[in-house]
Symmetry: C2
Subunit: 393 residues, 2 copies
């Protein structure tokens, strides 16, 4: 990790396997943003490329570590549990593999978690054909100081013909519909630009399923042979996906190729156009697509001028940052920022890149009941950060 | 395999493991082409997705089977040896995986094979990061009715950072320079359109090395950090590559995306433009690139109107088909044809799709000393075919 110029540095430098279990000393920093002063607290660190965080009703959190496929429980004081048992094996190639993005991805609590303790995990599953983007769920049981998933069920696996061995563009973000509990899953185009426009192919899509992983009968209609899980198609690699709790509308931010990161309002049965519609170009510089409009496809609400590399999305609701009410908070990997976007009447009216001072790749964003914002930073030595309006006591 | 309307059908239907080793009865057919009547003999069959053939000085041949990584020796009467021992393990996913093109690829004899019995094999090698396109060589030793490679040396492996887990676009074709014995290897873009324009990346390139697998000091210069093996860049997935023995010039036919199969005259240090220059579009129908011209890049000599899916290339020299003298013979996979192309003054003056009646995917093409042409057909039950001007006695 590069040297940083913030107060987080000292604590980060102290991170080691020994302090990891005991809970590191909390490092704090204060950062000014347009509307609010933000207190940043390092809740936990020393995580191996963490990917997602889920906030538990009792104030603790679940966090996934992508590379080794670990799930841990964290306390507000920063102590992390041993890996939760019962987590499935993930698809990874050994060693430092910048071209393998596989592993353990998202963690979400069932909407009735308090009653049923069900935890959902998305991950790249090793299969005969290479890998599937899959979902398991299990009941979180804690006793005698250990935690495990019990009655683990494989509730979703990509259809066999769509599994392949690419190590790239898995997607893997999940969200529950805030009203009817349907589960949504993004699957990336597997770094194959042809796949998002094939309605029979689950890659490059957002899927909608029941909480049991079944294809619902009221999924939208595409072409006759279209995959029954398809909710929308034409996505590149969605890793920022969330419902606006105020409206129950689904929104995503999608990685563009070189440039062209975009925000889409996701509506049943639509085609979001990749690789026809894109504001970016290929990494090589070669042009792709037709621009931002194409017949039968939906144009993005917004195309970012600078590269965000969006991962993690939450709509702000709460008392601590009152001037962010209803805004999108988007994690920026390459952008190394928390990007706040306000949309009014389908148009972006504010775009603010916050926390750039931290120089962190932000992988996930969640908003807690108390109005604090929780972030995952994606590094070999990754962190859980918490944003509050006042310095925690 | 679909039913065919030719005389090959009967023998093909009889193929079984039992007759495989003993040598199937030779099936024959006669097909008229523009300049010659061609006698087609099924020399061998029952091969599992064969990929390449190398003609031995004693009239026998070596043939690779891609899927299971087998190398066999065949006799002119069609009998095939047991798999040659000492062939390395190849990178494959199990089952019927249309998106995994990995396995054992090309086989070439060292230019002084008669003296040193050295055989070169290219293949997708399983590595920690997924797969490399690699080359081994070994000495072919036969005794007591069995054949094996001895003193097997791994002479080339892709640099580690370029290895990945994609199952697509390996390239993998080899050729020895007819004068100085340098070895050339094509590596595909691994189905990642950004990689062919990165001169530090061995994917999407043609590499030049010594017969020992070393990077020669007189390789062409690209940018400062360019890979030392690079001979040319900007290729998509070259599987048809050969020297014209009359001129010692290197030529390739490259797979376009959807449409845009092309012929390139390959000259040291040039950039052949993929994905800037292409006559095709993405499989999704989305446009890619800038057309057929771009500054600093070399335009193709020819873009095919119909899809060839070129694999295997030989320049005809010999007495049997005198009116093909000097023509390119290109194997067509999707095209299911042997495509004869005559080039004069850098322009295609004849293009003939031959043997379409056979309905075979043609994977490799070699021309024998006696002027006969040998073909590999790529099917689950693949064949070695021999083309002669007269019916064999």
């Amino acid at each position: 990790m590069p040297l940083k110029s913030t107060g987080l540095l000292a604590a980060t430098a102290l991170a080691s396997a020994a302090v990891l279990a005991a809970g590191p000393a909390l490092a704090q920093d204060t950062i000014d943003t347009e509307h609010h002063q933000v207190h940043v607290t390092t809740v936990a660190e020393g995580l191996a490329h963490p990917w997602a965080i889920a906030l538990m009703p009792d104030g603790r959190f679940l966090v996934t570590e992508r590379d080794d496929g670990r799930l841990r429980i964290g306390d507000a004081d920063g102590s992390l549990s041993d890996p939760v048992e019962g987590v499935p094996e993930v698809f990874r190639f050994e060693g430092e593999t910048p071209r393998s993005q596989g592993g353990l991805f998202d963690v979400k609590l069932h909407p009735q978690f308090a009653e049923n303790q069900l935890v959902y995990l998305s991950f790249s599953e090793p299969t005969e054909r290479g890998a599937s983007v899959s979902i398991i769920r299990g009941q979180l049981v804690e006793e005698n100081g250990t935690a495990r998933l019990e009655e683990v069920e494989a509730i979703f696996q990509m259809q066999e013909e769509d599994q392949d061995s690419s190590g790239l563009h898995f997607g893997g973000r999940m969200a529950f519909h805030p009203q009817d509990d349907h589960l949504f899953l993004s699957i990336g185009d597997r770094r194959n630009i042809s796949r998002a426009q094939d309605s029979e192919d689950q890659a490059g899509s957002i899927l909608r399923m029941t909480p049991d992983g079944e294809a619902p009968e009221d999924n939208p209609e595409f072409e006759e042979e279209a995959n029954e899980y398809l909710f929308t198609m034409g996505h590149r690699n969605v890793q920022a996906l969330a419902f606006d709790p105020a409206t129950a509308e689904l929104w995503v931010a999608d990685h563009g190729p070189e440039g062209g990161d975009e925000i889409n309002h996701v509506r049943a049965g639509e085609n979001y156009g990749w690789p026809f519609i894109t504001g970016g170009e290929d990494y090589s510089g070669a042009p792709i697509g037709v621009g931002l409009e194409h017949e039968g496809m939906v144009s993005p609400i917004h195309v970012f001028e600078d590269t965000v590399a969006p991962s993690g999305l939450a709509f702000y609701q709460g008392d601590q940052f009152g001037n962010w009410q209803g805004d999108m908070l988007i994690g920026g990997l390459a952008g190394q920022a928390l990007v706040r976007v306000r949309i009014a009447d389908g148009v972006v009216v504010e775009e603010e890149w916050m926390l750039e001072e931290l120089e962190r790749r932000i992988r996930d964003v969640e908003v807690a009941e108390d109005g604090s914002v929780w972030l995952i930073t994606e590094h070999e030595d990754g962190e859980v950060l918490r944003l509050t309006s006042e310095a925690p006591s």
